[in-house]
């Protein structure tokens, strides 16, 4: 099973990197760009076939390590 975890800043947390990207895109002439936010995507290969179990494991990983829940939120996608 493959898990994809998205870790992004919570709404309302300032995202200087996203802002800088937006700024740079404008500078390159992409006028249609509105807000930009940057986050992380973490792809994990998992030796676990059961989807519910896999989700529980990945959730635990997020809470323990992958996200800093003070400022970040996460989403989990499973595949396979």
């Amino acid at each position: 099973m493959k898990a994809r975890v998205f870790v992004t800043l919570k709404n309302g947390v300032l995202d200087p990197q996203g802002k800088a990207i937006g700024h740079a895109l404008h500078g390159l002439g992409f006028r249609a760009v509105g807000e930009v936010r940057q986050g992380k995507v973490i792809d994990i290969e998992l030796a676990e076939r059961d989807e519910a179990k896999a989700r529980a494991i990945v959730k635990e990983m997020c809470e323990k390590l992958l996200a800093n829940t003070v400022i970040e939120k996460y989403e989990i996608e499973l595949d396979g």
């Binding site: 300032l14 200087p16 990197q17 800088a20 992380k40 323990k64 390590l65 800093n68 003070v70 400022i71």
Partner: protein, 222 residues
């Protein structure tokens, strides 16, 4: 005063911290490998600067999960003094021992330069040898020192007198909230700060403003 310095994989100010401690306490600190599960019997633990685990994922995140950190946490709760410098501060926030987080510098670049700091609190084992309001200069060297917390937390920190060091107005190198450079835990026995006091303990390096911090600890903990 007996002290220890925790060495994480890719800590790189562990030696600098040890040199400063030895110079100012007269005793060599114990160097403790992150994989150990128990601290030796000491009065002070230093989490040094560096790039523990390459600063990958988030600065300090993986180091905060090191086996030794469980013991550091337990003993800190019982009152052990803990000093986290730079990467060590990041480890302390990631470990939940100090509130808030250290985000990427506002200018998104690593910054290394001397900064002016105001000593805001002298009611602590770390700062009793400074004058309240004293202006000191320590170097910073970090890419993620932008202290961020929600307004309520910031208000509480200020209200409880836990903001110990503040960047002097106009000299905030990373965009941190309310110019915060260093904060105390609720019990005031854990200090995390981004600037490096251990790099200004020797006049040949351009200053000795860091010495009173270690001298305070010696006085308070001996």
């Amino acid at each position: 005063m007996k002290s220890a310095v925790v060495v994480f994989p890719a800590s790189n100010c562990d030696r600098d911290a040890a040199v400063a401690l030895e110079q100012l306490t007269g005793k060599k600190p114990a160097m403790v490998w992150h994989h150990d599960s128990e601290l030796p019997d000491v009065d002070l633990v230093v989490l040094p600067g560096g790039f523990a685990y390459g600063d990958y994922l988030r600065c300090g995140a993986m180091a905060a999960q090191s086996p030794i950190m469980r013991d550091v946490k337990t003993k800190a709760e019982k009152g052990l003094s803990v000093l986290g410098i730079c990467n060590g501060f990041q480890v302390l926030t990631e470990a939940g021992m100090l509130p808030g987080v250290l985000m990427r510098n506002a200018e998104l670049k690593f910054v290394c330069r001397p900064v002016s700091l105001d000593v805001e609190e002298t009611q602590s084992a770390f700062t009793r040898k400074y004058e309240k309001g004293q202006r000191v200069s320590f170097p910073v060297a970090h890419g993620d020192g932008n202290y961020t917390a929600d307004e309520a937390t910031l208000d509480r920190l200020e209200g409880e007198g836990r903001v110990v060091f503040r960047y002097a107005p106009g000299d905030n190198p990373n965009g941190s909230a309310r110019n915060i450079a260093g904060i105390l835990s609720r019990k005031r026995n854990v200090l995390g700060l981004m600037p490096h006091p251990e790099r200004v303990c020797d006049a040949a390096l351009g200053g000795t403003d860091g010495r009173p911090l270690f001298e305070s600890l010696v006085e308070a903990l001996s």
